[in-house]
Symmetry: C2
Subunit: 329 residues, 2 copies
């Protein structure tokens, strides 16, 4: 049976699922040196989250004599920590669990939007510091405003559904989305991303990080945002990123908070993680969480179960639905 | 024409509305001594928020020779700061603006629910303190859980609508509500409040504060909460109060946070406001805001406009819709 390395942890029930199917599971975080020295060549599959980096060098050392790595399973969504070209060249399949964490990110995004517009973290922080800042904490309502969604996949659609129930109208930019999906979700799809920034006082990011989307949120686009809702309320401009660091230019965001071009920003993801000495953290209208978009008990259980089922099927010779480089099979 | 005192501020557009109708508006906060000395006897109406206390003594001194106070307008909802019996005895009408702030409180309640279950304030606070606490901040999802609403009026119904869109199921206790309204909103109405606590991992308070509801949330009821969602997830128990201080026993809540009977609590209202030296504020899983439920630009504009229209009509001899002591007219 198969040998599976789990380097960044996995839900207990999922580990049991693999073992019950007869596979050997090794739960251990390997150092960069161990990975580069070829430790994965003694496994059929490796399950990682974001902490383990699968570089070209790691992949080139992952073919052994007895066994060879055949599958990299990303327990989660983003594969920025995997060298996809190298994996494909070495005929190693890469799979993720794209839908398991959807609802967790949807709820965090809505939480951040409301926390920003209603000063929840600021209210809590000032209360703890002995101040009753009621008069300084007048906020604005999401209802009656436009929400701009950059990327309109599963997560953005989930955010949109809740935002609509609050009373927002939806605008999106997603060059890869069939127009009828947006229409089904009562969302206006735009061909030009700048139009979304021009129309919307509230923007939430839901795309991948790639060369195409790097620093997609920059000073110029922030300066296009209207600051006044379609209901005539001067609610300011608000930005949320629970997708990937690097899509938002953090220097531009700090400048925009300082100039007032942005009234608030909420980031769950950062250009450098863990965050160290980022001047953004000191701004009153910054709201941050440490990359916890998928960090719910529910999502971790779903991710583990989906990954375990996928590996079991793969090792029986079936092609996984969520394979990201289907050309290797 | 009428003379109107506005003692706790009012939206500019509403003041203009009153002046355009020919009334004189005096925007001034009066001290307790001035109020008790009869300053209001020279006005036809007074508009207050929560800061001005209209006591028996203030009311007894509000009948003058030239004019007499005829209307107390509460720009907002709660009238705990008005002695209703004394007002009724003196034939002074008391009106509020009950629906203007509904959506503002709905959004804050949902924000607090998500902030609690996803550790948003804790994430922000620890980030600002230079810590990357990703591993300690695993949360739980609202989707798939039961939300218990204590009181099922306009605000609770609004919260329920958004909570349902997130995937929660609704349970409520409201002895004054016709059962068909709950059914229309897909909410199970219970005759016994304890049943709501027994069934629900998440409870939100949406009733008035009265002798009947004082310390309605106590240790016994908190201990009934299940801690495990109907989806089987050990999400803990979560309590939100954006209604009125005093409904929740704060000592019981602190004990419950310490024992783990509650995993989180979010309070926008407190037994004593402003909050001073409340030991709750030091608990990691407490989330607080300084009574900002109605503190949005939208709500304040709606409140002002509704109050101005009401006063203009009242001074023309029409009975206001939102009169709380109709027996005086």
């Amino acid at each position: 049976m198969g040998r599976i390395a789990v380097t960044d942890g996995m839900d207990d029930s999922a580990v049991k699922q693999l073992e019950d199917a007869g596979h050997e599971v090794v739960l251990k975080h390997y150092s960069k040196e161990e990975l580069e020295a070829g430790i994965l060549s003694d496994f059929d599959a490796v399950v990682i989250r974001s902490a383990t980096k699968i570089t070209d060098k790691v992949i080139r050392s992952s073919s052994g004599r007895k066994r060879s790595l055949k599958l990299i399973g990303r327990a989660g969504v983003g594969v920025d920590n995997i060298n996809m070209d190298a994996a494909t060249k070495s005929k190693i399949a890469v799979c993720n669990t794209p839908s398991s964490s959807t609802n967790a990110v949807v709820e965090l995004t809505i939480g951040h939007l409301l926390s920003c517009t209603r000063h929840i973290t600021t209210g809590d922080r000032t209360l703890r510091n002995g101040k009753w800042e009621k008069k300084n904490l007048r906020g604005s309502e999401l209802s009656g405003k436009r929400l701009g969604l950059i990327g309109f996949g599963r997560i953005a659609q989930g955010v949109g559904k809740v935002a609509r129930s609050i009373g927002m109208t939806l605008h999106a930019y997603d060059p890869y989305l069939p127009a009828e999906i947006a229409a089904d979700q009562h969302c206006t799809l735009h061909d030009n991303i700048d139009d979304v920034f021009r129309l919307c006082t509230h923007i939430s990011i839901h795309c991948n990080h790639s060369a195409e989307t790097h620093h997609l949120v920059n000073s110029e686009r922030i300066s296009m945002m209207p600051g006044i809702g379609i209901d005539g309320v001067e609610c300011g401009n608000h930005l949320v990123n629970c997708a990937r660091g690097g899509i938002v230019d953090e220097v531009a965001v700090l400048n925009a908070l300082e100039s007032g071009a942005l009234s608030s920003v909420a980031l769950d993801v950062f250009e450098v993680e863990p965050v160290v000495d980022n001047p953004l953290l000191n701004h009153r209208n910054f709201h941050g969480t440490p990359h916890i978009g998928a960090a719910t008990y529910e999502a971790q259980a779903r991710i583990g179960q989906e990954m375990a089922a996928l590996i079991i099927d793969f090792l029986k010779g079936r092609k996984p639905k969520s394979i990201l480089n289907p050309e290797v099979i």
